[in-house]
């Protein structure tokens, strides 16, 4: 899901030589809270309902607009847009391609759309977030690793204690795992049912250590009703390489997640807490 899929269109704009009165009327008429200010096809500012609230109606838009506009490309992911909004503490982004404004994406629209990709039980992001974020990091040439954690025999808890109790355990597991994550380094998601996955920018060795901490945390935690909750982890790491280099097998982010998932299955099968898949060369998902 990209910014261009949810941006509001057609874009209503105003030029800097219009009056504040004209801008207010335009906003009221179109029931919108802001207008990108465009002169000769180029975005030069933004004027919001807050800007015009106390301004004299005779003033030029140029005199009340904010000249610092935070923009986003139409191809950016929703999560990239969310990060931009949070970093700048603003309510909306203007979608721009080659200096030309295309649309607007608001905080409420973005949150509502991203909310669809958040697991309502645990509050963690779902698998799609992991894919997008991983592709984004690979495009930047960053080293990434995936830790895939599969809870052992979780169906038994559901069968013996009921699904409501099982859900409570899943929430507690998510909370415990979340406490092990470093902000801006590890991205935890609920991949499916009783499977959790972490995208991390740590090295493969550090990701392995994180996986051990995750497995140990589950083993040592005191769970309600004294149930035993354990998990098996698989780790796979990769870095973007020159895709044209001969002899290098290139994997996608999906392959990396799959390798980590298979490694966790192997760990479970072999009765080991964790198995590391080998480090691979990656190509971005969109390539």
């Amino acid at each position: 899901m990209q910014v261009q899929d949810i941006m509001s269109q057609p874009l209503v704009i105003v030029s800097s030589d219009r009056s504040v009165q004209a801008a207010v009327e335009l906003m009221e008429q179109r029931r919108i809270g802001c207008l990108p200010v465009v002169d000769e096809g180029r975005l030069i500012g933004i004027v919001t309902s807050r800007d015009v609230r106390n301004a004299h109606p005779n003033r030029l838009v140029a005199d009340v607009m904010s000249g610092e506009v935070v923009t986003v490309a139409p191809g950016n992911s929703l999560w990239e847009a969310k990060e931009l909004l949070e970093r700048h503490g603003i309510e909306r982004l203007v979608v721009v391609e080659r200096d030309a404004p295309l649309g607007i994406v608001t905080k409420s629209r973005l949150h509502s759309e991203i909310g669809k990709h958040v697991d309502s039980l645990t509050g963690l992001e779902r698998a799609e977030f992991l894919q997008r974020k991983a592709s984004e990091l690979v495009k930047q040439g960053r080293e990434i690793a995936i830790v895939f954690l599969d809870l052992d025999d979780f169906g038994t808890i559901d069968k013996e204690y009921g699904h409501v109790f099982g859900d409570e355990i899943l929430v507690l597991v998510a909370k415990r795992l979340k406490s092990l994550m470093a902000n801006g380094v590890d991205y935890l998601s609920r991949y499916a049912g009783d499977e959790f996955a972490v995208l991390t920018t740590r090295s493969l060795d550090e990701a392995r250590e994180l996986a051990i901490r995750m497995v140990t945390a589950l083993q040592t935690e005191s769970w309600p009703e004294g149930v035993k909750v354990t998990g098996s982890a698989g780790v796979a790491g990769g870095r973007r390489q020159d895709v044209r280099r001969a002899g290098n097998e290139i994997y996608t982010v999906s392959d990396l997640i799959n390798m980590a998932s298979l490694a966790s299955t192997a760990a479970k099968k072999d009765g080991k807490p964790m198995v590391v898949a080998e480090k691979v060369c990656l190509a971005g998902e969109s390539e």
Binding site: A55, H56, N58, R59, L60, A62, D63, V64
Partner: protein, 123 residues
Amino acid sequence: MGAKEGKQSSFSEPTRRGEIVLKLSEFEFPPMRDVLLVGRKAPIGPEAVRRMVDALSPEQYEIIRLQHPLFEAVVVKKSLLKILPEEKLLPIILEEGERVAAENTIVKVQVDVVIYVSRAVEL
């Protein structure tokens, strides 16, 4: 009732006349004199002033944006700044401007600078 109607009918029909008054004076050019103080909520903002100044007297005025509770900007004739530096002129203009202006006004200021020079020559 009948008597009242009889009284009204004694009025004459009203007449309407128009009067034209002309006041002719020379257009002051440029219209902002030496200094213009632009209030924060004035009907014209600094950008509008800049566009007006650029159109009427290109390159003759400088717009200085201010961090001031009343004024958003001050427009000063460049030739004035050549006689008196900005850091000497502005505090005086602002101090006096504050006494007469509100944040919704634009004040034009005429500034006359007289420089007294006294030189001694060796005889």
